[in-house]
Symmetry: C2
Subunit: 334 residues, 2 copies
DNA sequence: TTGTAGGCGTTATCAA
DNA sequence: TTGATAACGCCTACAA
């Protein structure tokens, strides 16, 4: 019932394990006839090489990369993971994943497990509250680490992020172009989150460029769909309410859409950050600043692979551009 | 620059590797003072146990389970994967994933990689065209294999699927209850796909129960959103068109929603299989037969764990119930 | 309470 | 062209 090993195959053929190894890895000279007999025995016994043993012997590195994302069910991170997986598989690497639920503890324990497995590289979407100083020794030891969507805290390392600031700026400028002068901003929690800060900065950039004042009362927070809905209502109830809204992530977008729909407010313009599958079916269809999650994953994978190939240049921050998709909700005039 | 090993720690303390091992695994008696000195050395050297070596020695099995899904960006499968990961991690197992893009070749090569890594179990969403006879020897050898969303072909094995037939029947019965007698069905490709067959059977069950005739002209196919949109238009253009539609998966739902919205047809009732994030914002809000992807993942994980615990009973098929969510689109009368 | 010998399945090294 | 031996890092079995 035991699974056959290389030694079993060798015995079957009447050679040594090393010869079988040579055949299977195309390593060193083997007589053609020997090769054929080995292959025949491999088939006969149903032998499958043991990658664990191989990895351990060869590199002391597992031919796998570890990926930590906040939530696998989120299509944004799922798509990112898919982009990574296909890019990395082409190089014979396997993907090991874990979800952190956006908590620093889980993130750290997942990373510890991955390190214990001796993964070849680490790709991490850092949780909002984490600190990554503890990874310094790994960096020094040469382990490739790439941070996704948000940069690391307390650690100089590669990162791949969306063009948050320029994307938000483009979205706001779009609204300003349609005549809006008071634009509500609905962002994530906590307010210190990198993406929130960057997008808010893009918002301010656009205002400044257009010579419009920044009004703190127009900046609201909604960390999930329900909270974003409430935030939208608060904005609309202001004494001097906004004529347009900018939803800084997809939960915020959904909340704003629901709030506007239920209130029957078809006069309020809306631009969302991050695309939604049904955006074009909404009434009005939702104009968005779309991210490119697949590209983010691929860029991260390429960065990791180049590091594995020996690229020792200093840490990079790759910006993946966003794209404004005009559909209707962002083109309503005040 | 080398990573410290158990032997390094042992040398630092002046004991044997075995003693360090005992401390780290809480295995066997160790003097309190020795334990403390070992722990101190572990911290000082930054020692991390090598899981590869441990797995190899202990079980000849990797403490990981392999998961093959069609597409990581699909929130349904992403959520399933999340459910599996959290359930399995609680047992110290890691999740290795790969996406098959719904092709049998990729699926098989991923499974081969996982087997080579000696994963402890396999969870697979089988691609539509595959055949799983080749896994028989693994089954016989005692490897737990659970199929998700669709059963295996050519292999007796555990599976976890949604209540496709009863769910579809409930959705159709709901429409019939509102007076519809001609109901269009928009399903996936290929028509032989398990979920498609089951849901269509539920459709027929409901018709039969209500004494309504089955009209093949009302059964259409749309394998993605665009195709489903076209299929919807074909149904509406029939000489004797349906007054209600049943979209048998979420792409079909989206296609149908788009088609109806663009045609301005608010008179056609619609029930979708599988929920959508924005369903309640649509006009009219979308009534659906919701699946429970997180539960599917958890049930699969539990099944795997019970097999790992030695449950040798015959293969089971677990049915995860669906739930009808009434929102408006399914309650329009003809 | 601790140590020694041996082996998991593979590959590196050197010799034949 | 092939083999013998040792080693990767850890744990099991047994002995001290």
């Amino acid at each position: 019932m035991r699974r056959p090993t290389m030694t079993d195959v060798a015995r079957e053929v009447g050679v040594t394990a090393k010869t079988v190894s040579r055949v299977l890895n195309d390593d060193g000279p083997v007589a053609i006839e020997t090769r054929e007999r080995v292959m025949a025995a491999v088939r006969k016994l149903g032998y499958q090489p043991n990658l664990m043993a191989r990895n351990m012997r060869v590199g002391a590195r597992d031919a796998a990369i570890g990926l930590v994302i906040p939530e696998m069910g989120n299509p944004f991170f799922g798509t990112v993971a898919g982009g990574i997986e296909s890019a990395v598989r082409a190089r014979g690497l396997t993907l090991i994943v874990g979800s952190s639920s956006e908590t620093a503890d889980l993130e750290q324990s997942l990373i510890a497990t991955f390190l214990a497995r001796r993964v070849s590289a680490l790709i991490v979407v850092p949780s909002a509250t984490g600190d990554h100083r503890y990874l310094r020794s790994e960096r020094v030891a040469g382990l490739p680490i790439v941070f996704l969507d948000r940069p690391a805290v307390g650690l100089t390392a590669d990162s791949v992020v969306s063009g948050n600031r320029s994307g938000a700026q483009a979205g706001i400028a779009h609204l300003i172009g349609y005549g809006h002068r008071r634009i509500g901003f609905i962002g994530d929690l906590p307010a210190t989150l990198y993406t929130r800060r960057e997008r808010l900065q893009g918002y301010r950039d656009a205002l400044e460029e257009a010579g419009l004042p920044f009004d703190r009362a127009l900046v609201e927070t909604g960390h999930d769909q329900e909270a974003a809905r409430a935030a939208t209502l608060r904005l609309l109830a202001l004494e001097n309410p906004p004529t347009a809204l900018f939803a800084a992530n997809n939960f915020a977008s959904m909340g704003a859409v629901v709030a506007l729909a239920r209130a029957g407010r078809r006069d309020v313009a809306l631009v969302g950050f991050d695309d939604l599958p049904l955006a074009e079916v909404l009434d009005p269809p939702l104009t968005v600043v779309a991210q490119d999650p697949a590209a983010i994953g691929e860029v991260a994978a390429e960065l990791v692979l180049s590091r594995l190939d020996g690229d020792r240049s200093r840490a990079r921050r790759a910006l993946v551009p966003t794209r404004l998709i005009v559909r209707g909700s962002g083109e309503l005039s005040p």
